[in-house]
Amino acid sequence: MSEFMGFFDALFSPDFPFVRNAFFAGVLSSVLFGVLGSVVTVKRIAGLAGAISHAVLGGIGISLYLSATGMVPNLSPMVGAIVFALLSALIIGTVSLKSKQREDTVIQAIWAIGMSIGVLFMAKTPGYTDPSSYLFGNILLISTQDLVLLLTLDVVVILLAWYFYPQIEATSFDEEFSQVRGIPTRLVFLVILAITAVAVVLLQTFVGIVMVIAMLTLPAGTAGFGAKNLVAMMVGSTLFALLFSFAGLVSGWVLDLPVGAMVVVIAGAFFLGRSVGHLIKMRRSR
């Protein structure tokens, strides 16, 4: 109990800015997880987002190598991550549009090749680099500058989602009908993929690759069971993401365990619980 209260003391204490920053990062990333996660879920592109989020490890590995060997001094890992994210989004998006039957193979290939490139370059990078730190991240290392970046992306995503909501909803629900209505469905798809890719990069540097993909799908999946429409799913998903992030942060602090992994386990348990509840409800109503 004292450790639990200790978390709240730390949250409001000026001596522990990293706890406060982690809390705000949880709040800000919850908006992205909620809005983008709902779109990713209803468009059924979680596999694509998964491949993009894992492929960025390749860009991170190359950036770390180039920076550490002095070939490109002070190259931020985020630069390589963004290049790899957009590149993989473009490849997967193009294959998905042009040759749907090859999509699955390409998703798995991009996923595996990206990660392997990352591991290879990290192995040859002078000094010690731990790939798992990029897989699970560390929300406690977030700076105020990172929070500003997250806030900016939140605002951009909310504005785009509000303005293009009818088009996003229509293309996700019935792509063929949307095309007949004159919506550029391919462009909408590629833009969603590109924004997801950029968001994945920003989020994964803070919370890790595994948590990004888990939080893009689990809160939205949980909210989807009771949501009346896509907006309700986005709001519900944001609230669930907030709940999971906060619960992960507190339990990670109290139990002295990695926060990212705690968040994923809590979100996963909640999602499975609701899935089972939904199945029971469906059986009873038959």
Binding site: R44, P166, E169, F173, D174, E176, V180, I183, G224
Partner: protein, 257 residues
């Protein structure tokens, strides 16, 4: 009386790489006509539909939809797809599905106007009482009628329905055709179906995608005679009586094409 032509195929051919689907297709549809387009599975009905909607381009020949290129005119069409890949977990209400019928390429429209028009369209298919229900709660037949309402919401010049009665129970099918009967004469209706034997009694003319012209690989479209079946609400397709594809009730327009 001069009745404008709303859909005109001039000698259209279409092939996918390594597969010739349609060759020398020519037919036309007048405003207000109720047309059935029939063909067995795999005959090229979906391809023809995509050509009408401008989602595919012909290899040769031209298509005019409402006097324009189909890719420009298609927004004026009320399209009812099969929607076979429907995801039952998609969170959406019946009213929201119908509002989708008025979605534009970009931006948003006034909420109240959309709601009003969507409710009007739901009244037309007699499903206004289900407006706030989740779309996934509806039966297959009700969902198909909601898709008809979605197509009607934008007050289209022409309605195109892809296999509207597929997997529908008798009662739903009857209700669907009751809705279409109210539109007959006011809106041009084109129904695509794989039933090669009979069509609704509402049908004015029937086109079949089943035949190959001599020496051609791809299929073409031919017009057949219809015979009314007493008391059944259907017309029988007389496959042995072929009539020229450009023959219609309005010979003066057909001759001036």
């Amino acid at each position: 009386m001069s009745v404008p032509i709303v859909l005109h195929f001039h000698d259209v051919s279409f092939s996918y790489p390594h597969l010739t689907v349609l060759e020398e297709v020519g037919f036309h549809v007048h405003e207000g006509e109720f047309i059935a387009l029939v063909g067995p599975n795999g005959s090229g009905k979906t391809t023809l539909l995509k050509l009408i909607l401008g989602l595919e381009q012909p290899k040769s020949g031209t298509i005019e939809l409402l006097g324009q290129n189909p890719s420009k005119a298609r927004v004026q069409i009320g399209y009812v797809p099969q929607h076979a890949s429907y995801d039952p977990s998609f969170p959406i209400s019946v009213l929201e599905v119908v509002k989708m019928g008025m979605v534009e390429a970009r931006g948003r429209q006034p909420k109240e106007k959309l709601r009003q028009l969507a409710l009007e369209a739901l009244h037309q298919v007699e499903l206004a009482s289900l407006a706030d229900r989740p779309y996934s709660d509806l039966s297959g037949g009700q969902r198909r009628r909601v898709l008809v309402a979605r197509a009607l919401a934008s007050k289209p010049n022409m309605l195109i329905l892809d296999e509207p009665a597929a997997n529908m129970d008798k009662e739903s099918e009857q209700r669907l055709y009751e809705t279409l009967a109210k539109l007959k004469g006011k809106t041009t209706v084109l129904i695509v179906t794989h039933d090669m034997k009979r069509v609704s009694a509402l049908t004015d003319r029937v086109f079949c995608i089943d035949a190959h012209k001599e020496g051609k690989v791809g299929r073409t479209v031919v017009q057949h005679m219809l015979e009314e079946e007493p008391d059944d609400g259907v017309k029988r397709i007389l496959h042995d009586v072929e009539i020229p594809a450009d023959q219609c009730r309005y010979p003066q327009e057909a001759g001036n094409e």
